[in-house]
Subunit: 419 residues, 2 copies
Amino acid sequence: MSELTGNCLVGQSGGPTSVINASLAGVIQEALNHPCIEEVYGCLNGVLGILNEEFIDLAEESQQTIRKLRITPGAALGSCRYKLRSQRDFDRVLQVFEAHNIRYFFYAGGNDSQDTADRISKLAQQRGYELRVIGIPKTIDNDLVTTDHCPGYGSVIKNIAATVREMAADNEALGQNDFVSILEVMGRSAGWIAAGAALAKREDQPYDPPHLIYLPEVPFSKEKLYEDVQRVLSKEKFCLIVVGEGLVDEDGNYISTTSGAQDSFGHAQLGDIGSYLQKLIEDDLGLKARTAKLGYTQRAAARNASLTDNNEAFMAGQAAVQAAVDGETDKMVTLLRTDSDNYTCETGLTPLSEIANGVKMLPREWIHEDGVSMNHQFFRYAQPLIEGEVKIEYLKGVPEFARLAKKRVRKELEPYEFE
Amino acid sequence: MSELTGNCLVGQSGGPTSVINASLAGVIQEALNHPCIEEVYGCLNGVLGILNEEFIDLAEESQQTIRKLRITPGAALGSCRYKLRSQRDFDRVLQVFEAHNIRYFFYAGGNDSQDTADRISKLAQQRGYELRVIGIPKTIDNDLVTTDHCPGYGSVIKNIAATVREMAADNEALGQNDFVSILEVMGRSAGWIAAGAALAKREDQPYDPPHLIYLPEVPFSKEKLYEDVQRVLSKEKFCLIVVGEGLVDEDGNYISTTSGAQDSFGHAQLGDIGSYLQKLIEDDLGLKARTAKLGYTQRAAARNASLTDNNEAFMAGQAAVQAAVDGETDKMVTLLRTDSDNYTCETGLTPLSEIANGVKMLPREWIHEDGVSMNHQFFRYAQPLIEGEVKIEYLKGVPEFARLAKKRVRKELEPYEFE
């Protein structure tokens, strides 16, 4: 493969995580190691920043900023949920790439974002524009196929497991019998996130909180909920429930949705499933219940990120650049578990088209037969992902995160007119 | 004052905080320094543990456990919301104290708990039973009078301010215009907790998130909410709102309550005010909004506790023992700010009767005239309280907290029959 000289562009897409900026830091640091990469640009707000030609010069950022970026939540370049809609959109992308001599494109995101990257890559090939496109996995949902796990997942479940431990200490202290505590977590179509709460249990202490985990994989029924809660409370003073937002009934319909609302990708907007369970438990079982809903705070909790996850996110960013420089294109970086007994992780590559069309579900056989807890296979899988703690800098008692200087790159084209 | 020799008893009451166990550790450590204190007992579940004669021998706990106790959330002895109801209840307390030669009683809690301690103390005096009673302030609500602030408050607002910073990084990354993000926090009758979110702002950056703080002190109206949100969104891409659960309307009625439910002290049970604001904003302004409700996780977040608060909680426990040994009784330990320019903190003492009947409101003059932000007087007050971070031990990626061995003290009396 001949050396390809030109500029690189990196973008972030989809819901932020507490480690997506670690991947960005990995891309920047590695890109600067390769003379064939001349300028290191970032596009603001994903593909929207490409259409609008809104690029910043990442090589101008201070080294101190890039160091802090590794532990900064959110998506420092800005994200977007805009979907490239038409051939005109895709043509504009290539036009902008040509205008700025972009030859390397790195895109961190989930399924939809990898699909976008795949289409850009294929169009460039079709038009004979030499471009190397490498996707970087990013999603707390952990639902990308072919990768062992996704950067962002380890941190969100570490935060949730730690939160469950803390909540359990609080709930246990209340000294009330028959108290029900509910923690609502994210996870639209798979139970990966809710399942991670199981890591709050001590080894060989299956009755530790969380006592019940409700997953989208297991059809929900009120009767089962009532039985489950009563079974727990016959043995324990309180019942700590973790529930994923995407709970469905026997017919596959979401239990709780906000009046048919959809996001721009056509996904249903989910309502307050935690409060819904609380109301059922209070009204039908006559028990006292309380709910916490972590919302976006769970994926932004950089203070509580997993060091393993953070390091792997950084490594995925570096690996994307290395692969592209080595001539790879139209692939996504994957994380490979090389030794499952003594956890180690390496990176691999998979065609983008394989990622875009697949969804990795939580294996049904990792769910305990009671439907509300996880078995040893899940623990074996997930435990290594939450190991280690990041060190955050504080100023005046609050975390100090990176803020990019965002030196703008001069625009070369006329503004894009959206349809 | 003559030396009083006998046993000491310590109890915890009311809602747990992330530092109430630091006060317990302070009591235990200091009690062991004084030969006049023979046994160091803890009562399980506050006054309930006294009525039921459920005592544990705290001197039997390992030193390692007591060290970990300093950073363990919840209330390791168990708390309660039982209110001593009748003369019979109080008589039983004295009977139990006599049976175990309890001469020192330390009770950590909020207003109701200090009132309980005061009544026990006064009854003992009246009956000529020599007993020294010292209360230890504990409440995330920060509403105890005569103390500059309450142990537990600094940690809860540090956690909330840090959460707002993280949420803001996430919200900013979304790249959506006119997005509204809502964080619901505790605070039934005063806005101390919600106000603390203001510490997420950088110095001299009044337009930093949180953009709007809704406090129980400022009567809520929908019209004001709509104006506030629109004003913020005319300048910012997103609007981050922090709302205290105890919001009231012009007539002083709670905006959101769970169908007239009350707790055992007759306090109204509050509903989901965050989701309520979300619905108003979505339905009436047509904007996209999302809510997070921290619930009990906010007061249990030991990982994110303030080192200043943790140290002061420990010091309050030590000071309680020192005061009692010095002959003081029927008082609560207070925290005194000795130098407001260069923050330092010492302990003082106030009669329990003064605490029990007062509620310290958030000063109206610390709220900015816009009604939705805090002025420099609040920052000056609150900023020192969140300084410093605690160091938590982790095992397998989750925090390891103390678990007391709870060696039971032999019961001397017949079981108590509750009315």
